[in-house]
C-alpha cells in the first residue's frame, strides 16, 4: 500500500546534520543519470526515473544508498528501453571488478561479493 519511498511521518533515527561531500563516484552517477535524460538522448524522463526508484521494492530501497538506488533503477531502465542487455552488463561488471581488484581499488563490504556475477 505504501511504496518504500513514501516515508513522510514514519518513525526513523536522528538526522546526521553533517554535509558529507559527494564522492567522485556519486557525482559520476548524478551526471550520467542527467545525461541519459537530457534533450539530446531522452532515454529517461524525471517522472519515469522516480517510478523506477519507487519500484525497487522495500528491501532493496532500504538497504541501498541514495546513488546506489539511482544506479539500480537506471540499470533496469536501460535494459527495458533496449539500450543495454543484461548479458553485456554482467560481462562489463565482471571486467570492471577484475580491474578494480587488480589495482587495489576494490574493498567490498560484507555480503557484496555474492551479488557479483
Amino acid at each position: 500500500m505504501r511504496g518504500p519511498h513514501d516515508v513522510g511521518g514514519t518513525p526513523d533515527r536522528p538526522v546526521d546534520p553533517l554535509p558529507h561531500d559527494l564522492t567522485f563516484w556519486e557525482k559520476q552517477i548524478d551526471a550520467l543519470h542527467a545525461l541519459i535524460g537530457d534533450d539530446k538522448r531522452r532515454i529517461s524522463t524525471r517522472d519515469e526515473n522516480r517510478r523506477y526508484v519507487e519500484s525497487l521494492g522495500h528491501d532493496v530501497y532500504n538497504t541501498l544508498t541514495y546513488y546506489e538506488r539511482w544506479t539500480a533503477a537506471m540499470c533496469r531502465h536501460l535494459i527495458e528501453k533496449g539500450v543495454l542487455t543484461q548479458d553485456e552488463i554482467d560481462a562489463k561488471v565482471g571486467e570492471v571488478r577484475r580491474r578494480l581488484a587488480e589495482s587495489g581499488e576494490l574493498e567490498l563490504r560484507a555480503g557484496e561479493a555474492e551479488k557479483l556475477p
Binding site: D16, H20, D21, I29, Y66, I89, K92, E112
Partner: protein, 216 residues
C-alpha cells in the same frame, strides 16, 4: 540506511584507471555496476567521456553562494524581496540565475513564521541556487521525520524556536521548488551585500538553521 559516503579530496580527476586514492575505493556491487554502466554507455556512443566530465564540472561549479547572493539582495532591497516573493523565477533571473526547468517559490522567514523545506517522496531541491543537496536532505530520517516532528529535527541542527513562532514545513511533492529567505541577523546594519551573503548558509536557505551572526 547505510550512507557510506566520505570526503573525496581527489574528486574531479575523471580518470577511472588512476592509481587508488585514500578513501576512493569501491565498496559495493552497485558501485561496480555504476562504473560498468558508464563505460558501456561510452563504448556504445550514448554518452561521451567529455560529456560526463563536463556535467560533473557543471555540478561542482554551482554552490550555495548563488542563493546567498539572492538572500543578501533581498535583505537590503525590499522591492527586490517583494518581487522574489511574487515571482521567484523572474526575480532570480534578474540576478543572473536562470532556472532551467524549475518553478521557484520563495518563502520568507519572519518573526512569526519559520519555513523549512523537504521532499518526502524523493529529494526535489532548488539545485540551480544551492548546488547538489546534502546527504541529510536526501536521507530517509530527514524525509520521514521533519514533516512530523520539525522542531525536534531542527533541534538536531542546533536550532530552537519559541512556541510563539509558527513552524511551517513545505513538502515539495510536485513541480514547485522552494527556497527560504532566512531572517536577517541582528547587528548587521551597514554591512555590504557581499559581507551579508557570507552569513547566509545553505542550511539556512533550506530552513533547518538561521543565518549566521556577524563575527560568529
Amino acid at each position: 540506511m547505510n550512507e557510506h559516503v566520505h570526503a573525496d579530496p581527489h574528486a574531479g580527476h575523471g580518470h577511472d584507471h588512476a592509481p587508488p586514492q585514500p578513501d576512493d575505493k569501491v565498496h559495493s556491487y552497485y558501485q561496480v555496476l555504476g562504473i560498468a554502466l558508464k563505460e558501456l554507455l561510452i563504448e556504445k556512443g550514448v554518452v561521451t567521456a567529455d560529456e560526463v566530465r563536463e556535467a560533473i564540472e557543471r555540478r561542482d561549479s554551482i554552490t550555495p553562494a548563488r542563493g546567498a547572493r539572492i538572500v543578501a539582495r533581498a535583505w537590503v532591497d525590499y522591492d527586490y524581496k517583494a518581487r522574489l516573493l511574487a515571482d521567484g523565477n523572474a526575480a532570480v533571473a534578474e540576478m543572473g540565475c536562470p532556472m532551467d526547468n524549475t518553478n521557484l517559490v520563495v518563502v520568507e522567514n519572519t518573526e512569526r513564521v519559520h519555513n523549512v523545506i523537504v521532499c518526502t517522496l524523493c529529494s526535489c531541491y532548488p539545485r540551480e541556487l544551492l548546488g547538489l543537496p546534502p546527504s541529510w536532505y536526501k536521507s530517509r530520517a530527514y524525509r520521514a521525520r521533519v514533516v512530523r516532528e520539525p522542531r525536534a529535527v531542527l533541534g538536531e541542527f542546533g536550532t530552537a524556536l519559541g512556541d510563539g513562532m509558527e513552524v511551517r514545513v513545505h513538502d515539495s511533492t510536485a513541480d514547485m521548488r522552494y527556497f527560504v529567505i532566512p531572517r536577517r541577523p541582528p547587528g548587521t546594519e551597514g554591512l555590504s551585500e557581499e559581507r551579508l551573503a557570507e552569513l547566509v548558509t545553505r542550511d539556512s536557505m533550506i530552513g533547518v538553521t538561521e543565518a549566521k551572526a556577524p563575527g560568529g
